[in-house]
């Protein structure tokens, strides 16, 4: 029974099957809207379907029991496969073949054999010189009539595959450590606001930090074409009311305070706000006022009271506007003051006749102009701590290193025997490799070409 389980776990078929099943399940996760995903469009599905998916844990698929089981199986499979095959690789790495063996030289094709005119000892030393230069692991064995050389290189290439597989286990371990002891939090902070707690995880539970974060200012800058150029939060971090760090937080430039990282994740505007309006009387220079919503001011000439009733970012698709209500002894009126009134008048020539309420000089002799609506922004901060990151990064580094060993290096083993036959010196070359036959062929050709050099070749 134990044997069956082990051979099942260490089978390559299981590897391939698991890889394909994990891929298929991942596809499902991109098709079914995920509960905590960016789409959050569960409302598009029928409640019955949502219920079924939820009971099958398909709405948070990458953290479901299915996914975890598959990842565990894959890890076990990796470990079992490696344990099963490693002893063989180790043997190949450490093996020191006997140089008396004739097997490598049996059935050699003629182009692996050189017949050279010349003294054997001189040729032997030339062969040795060349091989010693090219092979670090090199041995020589002499008998009365023959000299045999053995050289090998790239024996470490047997370990490439283990390094890759170990790296994957390291990455998985790092991910587990991160999910167990790390956290991903979120907090929205209005300008001027501060907090020492953030929302953490799916359940949005509260987590207290060791210090206080304050958003001093949030700003957006734009390119000439209107695309956003920079989102910037100016943050202060305080401990016991003393500032321990102050600086800007930008997208792609997180700030780390006591191992916790802060990211510029989102922003928004807080409803309400204030406006800057200019009041002109006849041909005078005009006065500009900053007024909060629902606040009032008085026109000094006639004592009329003007109240900001409403502030609209985009009123009737005609841009920013404020609703003023004006009370004086002569009149009671409401009027909409637009920021882009000139443009509107051009677009609709008789606009002010049609809708007197949009006329900025309805309350004579005054002319109202909306300059800007002042925003109060809030910044959305992502607050994360992940102790597994350096482990995952280590795994990522070694997986690439392992790939190069596994795919681009090969264990080349070379036997060369020099002896005499029919009064000539014979060199036999036998080369083996665990992969990369093309590279091996190139090596063989190189050696034969250089053994020939400077001697008279007979065949």
């Amino acid at each position: 029974m134990k044997k069956i389980v082990l051979s099942f776990l260490s089978s390559l078929k299981l590897t391939v099957a698991l890889l394909i099943i994990i891929a298929a399940l991942s596809i499902l996760g991109t098709v079914i809207p995920q509960q905590y995903g960016p789409g959050e469009s569960l409302t598009h599905m029928s409640p019955g379907l949502v219920k079924t998916f939820r009971s099958l844990q398909l709405l948070d698929l990458y953290h479901s029991v299915w996914f975890i089981i598959l990842m565990c199986l894959l890890s076990l499979n990796l470990i079992a496969c490696s344990l099963k095959r490693f002893p063989t690789s180790w043997k190949l790495f450490t093996a020191t073949p006997s140089l008396d063996r004739t097997k490598p030289f049996e059935d050699l094709s003629p182009d692996n054999i050189l017949m050279i005119e010349g003294e054997r000892s001189g040729i032997t030393s030339r062969v040795e010189h060349l091989l010693m230069k090219r092979y670090k692991r090199f041995r020589r064995r002499d008998t009365d009539t023959t000299t045999t050389f053995y050289g090998e290189k790239g024996a470490y290439s047997h370990f490439g595959v283990y390094i890759v597989h170990a790296s994957i286990l390291i990455i998985i371990a790092g991910a587990i450590i991160g999910s167990l002891w790390g956290f991903e939090g979120f907090v929205n902070l209005a300008e001027g606001e501060s907090t020492d707690t953030v929302y953490v995880g799916r359940q949005k539970s509260l987590k207290e930090l060791d210090y206080t974060v304050r958003c001093d200012k949030f700003s957006i800058t734009y390119y000439a074409n209107g695309m956003p150029k920079e989102y910037r939060s100016d943050l202060s971090f305080l401990e016991n009311n003393a500032v321990i760090f102050q600086g800007p937080l930008l997208v792609n430039h997180p700030v780390t305070i006591k191992r916790i990282k802060f990211y510029q994740a989102s922003y928004g505007t807080i409803p309400g706000g204030r406006v800057h309006i200019t009041i002109t009387r006849g041909n005078d220079k005009g006065t500009t006022l900053t007024v909060d919503l629902k606040d009032s001011f008085y026109l000094k000439e006639n004592g009329a009271k003007v109240t900001i009733q409403r502030i609209e970012e985009n009123f009737m698709s005609m841009g920013p506007a404020v609703l003023l209500s004006i009370h004086s002894s002569e009149a009671n009126m409401q009027l909409w003051v637009f920021k882009d009134i000139e443009k509107m008048k051009q677009a609709i020539p008789n606009l002010l006749q049609k809708v007197p309420k949009f006329n900025p000089s309805l309350f004579k002799p005054y002319f109202f102009k909306l300059n800007t609506i002042a925003h109060t922004y809030y910044t959305g901060l992502q607050v994360s701590y992940d102790p597994g990151v350096s482990i995952v990064a280590t795994g990522a580094f070694f997986i690439v290193f392992g790939f190069f060993l596994a795919f681009f290096s090969s264990h080349k083993r070379l036997w060369v025997r020099v002896d005499e036959q029919e009064g000539k010196t014979r060199i036999m070359v036998s080369a083996q490799s665990n992969k990369d036959p093309v590279g091996l062929e190139r090596e063989r050709e190189y050696l034969l070409r250089h053994f020939k050099k400077g001697s008279e070749v007979i065949i």
Binding site: L12, K13, T15, V16, L19, I20, I22, A23, S26, I27, G29, T30, Q34, G37, P38, G39, S41, Y62, A175, E184, Y223, N225, M227, P228, K229, E230, Y231, L250, V251, N252, H253, P254, K261, Y263, Q264, A265, Q382, S384, D386, V389, V392, A393, A396, I399, V400, F403, F407
Partner: protein
């Protein structure tokens, strides 16, 4: 029209001509077309390189300088560039023009889509904050070299399946010109290995970038997930080579399925909600 996009839309026609020459060579069986095909591919590559560099230069002149790798148009152009670049290296290394007819058309299609689709904006746009990162260049380059290697593998897969239709001497030059199936199998394997390494590097650079931009190196965003799916498909393919009976035809089919996954990672994901939506 700005000069760089004009050059690049002409490159489309050069690649089209090159693809046709490779095809003529296969259909007519005349070597005459071969050098013409190779040289036009090389000429296209040089012109395209000039076009890309010019675009880079122009973006700096506009005051919004950045490498031209930042939107769909620029990525399609770069995709075509990597395909032709990698293909010409392969052609030079294996000293055979037989696979050009199955690879250059992909470069042409990518260029044509970039240059002539009304849905692709060819203007140079400034970088939004999320893209302002030193990781942009290394992430895009590694990913697209991976994609290009997988494209070549897919072309080889088609060739393998076509070669199976050959029936001795009675087959036309087209099928006879296709390399032997063992060679195609070997080449497919090597292309997939190159693609797999680049894809891995692309995922790693992407993760590092995500870690500094989004606060998490992995967040199961659809593009991330699909790159993992692609990675798993090719990982399965590389392992199944060691299974009995999995060499040959099944590998050819796997290389085509893998490429479909690459295409979905590249284009299809845009129809799913996620963080990569600006691409």
């Amino acid at each position: 029209m700005i000069i760089n996009t004009t050059i690049l839309s002409w490159v489309t026609f050069i690649y089209f001509a090159s693809a046709i020459f490779y095809l003529f060579r296969m259909v007519t069986g005349k070597q005459f077309w071969g050098p013409l095909a190779s040289w036009s591919a090389l000429a296209g590559l040089i012109a395209q390189t000039a076009g890309i560099l010019l675009r880079w230069f122009e973006s700096y002149k506009m005051g919004i300088g950045h490498a031209p790798l930042s939107n769909l148009y620029e990525s399609l152009i770069f995709f075509a560039w990597t395909i032709v670049f990698l293909y010409l290296i392969v052609e030079w290394r294996i000293k055979s023009r037989n696979i050009g007819a199955f690879v250059i058309p992909f470069a042409f299609l990518s260029m044509a889509f970039a240059s002539f689709s009304p849905n692709v904006n060819t203007r140079i746009q400034p970088l939004i904050p999320a893209l302002q990162s030193n990781w942009l260049i290394s992430h895009v380059i590694t990913c697209f070299f991976g994609y290009a290697a997988f494209t070549i593998a897919c072309g080889l897969g088609f060739m393998y399946l076509l070669k199976g239709l050959e029936k001795g001497e009675s087959s036309g030059p087209f099928l006879r010109f296709l390399p032997r199936r063992e060679i195609l199998d070997e080449l497919t394997y090597h292309s997939v290995v190159i693609g797999f390494i680049f894809l891995t590097l692309g995922v790693i650079t992407g993760s590092v970038w995500a870690y500094s931009a989004w606060g998490s190196y992995w967040s199961w965003d659809p593009k991330e997930t699909w790159s993992l799916i692609t990675w798993l498909v090719y990982a399965a393919m590389l392992h199944s080579r060691f299974l009995r009976g999995w060499k040959g035809k099944r590998m050819a089919i796997m290389s085509i399925i893998g490429f479909a996954s690459v295409l979905f990672t590249y284009f299809g994901v845009n129809y799913l909600p996620g963080l990569h939506s600006y691409f």
